[in-house]
């Protein structure tokens, strides 16, 4: 790793482990808590978010020399909202069931901080190929994370995985886990586990430099990532 420029592979891996958006950067909490009652929803949401992330990263990167510094936030919003609308239409047309399940959380991808943060921190400073890769890495990391959350909640809460019954004779599923409090609990425990496994000494230090410089719009998230130290 002596090269100054990061290789495409490491950009991709960054998104999955080092800077996993849901577990490390703690971005995009709303969907990762709301729709993860089923593992299937996690995959669906992850794919939708990845699509928007890749599209918006690519386009913002291509337009990075044209977009004036001062009005970049509205520009980003328009690009992201356009891709979200595309996803909304595709979902409604081809996956009506999943679309119903995810409901308003699909259009809410627009205000998902992950996408905003990547546009601000990565895409507007890097060439298209890298930005494209960053989008795929981040999106995959997000998808893996919310699929894990979804799997845990589905297994404990409904006793199934991807709709297949698993724990029929093992234990009685606890409905608690598919209710909102279960979402908070599982997410909290999984982040703690992630910290433990990947030996994050102080989870705050990384985010300080990575997310601290984030756009005005998602500072709320950046602060969340910083453990709510500023503001």
């Amino acid at each position: 790793m002596e090269k100054k420029k990061k290789s495409l592979g490491s950009i991709f891996l960054d998104g999955i482990i080092n800077q996993n958006p849901a577990f490390r950067l703690l971005l995009g909490n709303c969907p990762s808590l709301a729709i993860t009652t089923l593992a299937k929803n996690g995959v669906g949401m992850g794919l939708a978010a990845t699509f928007v992330l890749v599209g918006s990263n690519l386009f913002i990167s291509l337009l990075r020399k044209i977009i004036p510094e001062k009005v970049r936030i509205p520009c980003f919003i328009v690009v992201i909202a356009s891709f979200t609308t595309i996803v909304e239409m595709i979902m409604a047309a081809f996956l009506p069931e999943l679309d119903k399940e995810l409901g308003i959380y699909i259009p809410l991808i627009v205000v998902n901080c992950i996408i905003f943060a990547r546009a601000e921190m990565f895409a507007q400073k890097n060439p298209p190929v890298e930005s494209f890769m960053d989008g795929i890495g981040m999106g995959t990391g997000f998808m893996i994370a919310i699929t894990i959350i979804g799997s845990v909640r589905e297994l404990l809460g409904s006793g199934t995985w991807m709709g297949i019954p698993v724990t029929v004779n093992l234990f009685e599923p606890a409905t608690f886990f598919i209710l909102p409090p279960g979402g908070f609990l599982v997410m909290g425990l999984l982040i703690a586990l992630f910290n433990k496994v990947f030996k994050v000494k102080d989870p705050r230090t990384i985010e300080d430099k990575e997310v601290g410089c984030c756009a005005v719009g998602c500072q709320g998230c950046a602060n969340a990532a910083n453990g709510g130290e500023t503001v």
Partner: protein, 193 residues
């Protein structure tokens, strides 16, 4: 009137935005460290929610619907909200400096608050009238306020608690949020028809 009351109670307690719908989680976790900042943030959110509900409802009814442009809802709403937040900020600065001082720093963060866009999408889904959507926005704001203030009280206590290394920061906060959320499940039976 009874219907409006049902919406009000429903949005504050039964389907609390933060604790049961997971909208506005970022500010909920981000600025709930101290009760004073929690108050400022929730004041700003409530304020913007009420205005944005009115404006997005009018946009939807008189701009998008007549021309069959409902599929542009997401783009239209987010742009309207972004512009509105900017506008409110400028107006407040000029006309009510005291209020601006209290809410000013929180306003720019609200554009990407899911609660604002979320409640706009919900009124479309539920086909609310103008008055209903505004009341819904107000109630959602109150619910947000309630959750944020309750939670900031708990977090002030967590500050001094002895927490295992891996749980420090976000994990313990989420677990505390889970406990608060359980208490709100108790309101689930409170459905007024």
């Amino acid at each position: 009137m009874k219907e409006l009351f049902a919406i009000l109670i429903g949005a504050i307690l039964v389907e609390n935005f933060v604790l049961t719908k997971f909208l506005g989680i970022c500010p909920f976790l981000g600025v709930s460290q101290k009760t004073s900042t929690a108050l400022g943030m929730s004041g700003a959110v409530t304020f913007v929610l009420v205005i944005s509900q009115a404006v997005t409802w009018l946009t939807n009814e008189y701009l998008l619907k007549p021309y069959g442009l409902e599929y542009l809802q997401t783009i239209a709403f987010i742009l309207v909200i972004a512009t509105l937040v900017q506008f409110v900020e400028t107006v407040l600065k000029k006309t009510m400096p005291a209020l601006y001082k209290a809410l000013g720093v929180y306003l720019p963060l609200i554009t990407t608050n899911c609660a604002v866009l979320g409640s706009a999408l919900i009124f479309v889904e539920r086909d609310y009238t103008f008055i209903q959507s505004v009341v819904f926005g107000f109630a959602a704001g109150l619910g947000f306020t309630l959750a944020l203030i309750l939670f900031s009280g708990i977090r002030e206590r967590l500050e001094t608690a002895d927490i295992p290394e891996a749980f420090k920061g976000m994990p313990i906060t989420l677990i505390a949020a889970s406990l608060v959320s359980i208490t709100f499940m108790g309101f689930a039976g409170l459905i007024i028809s």
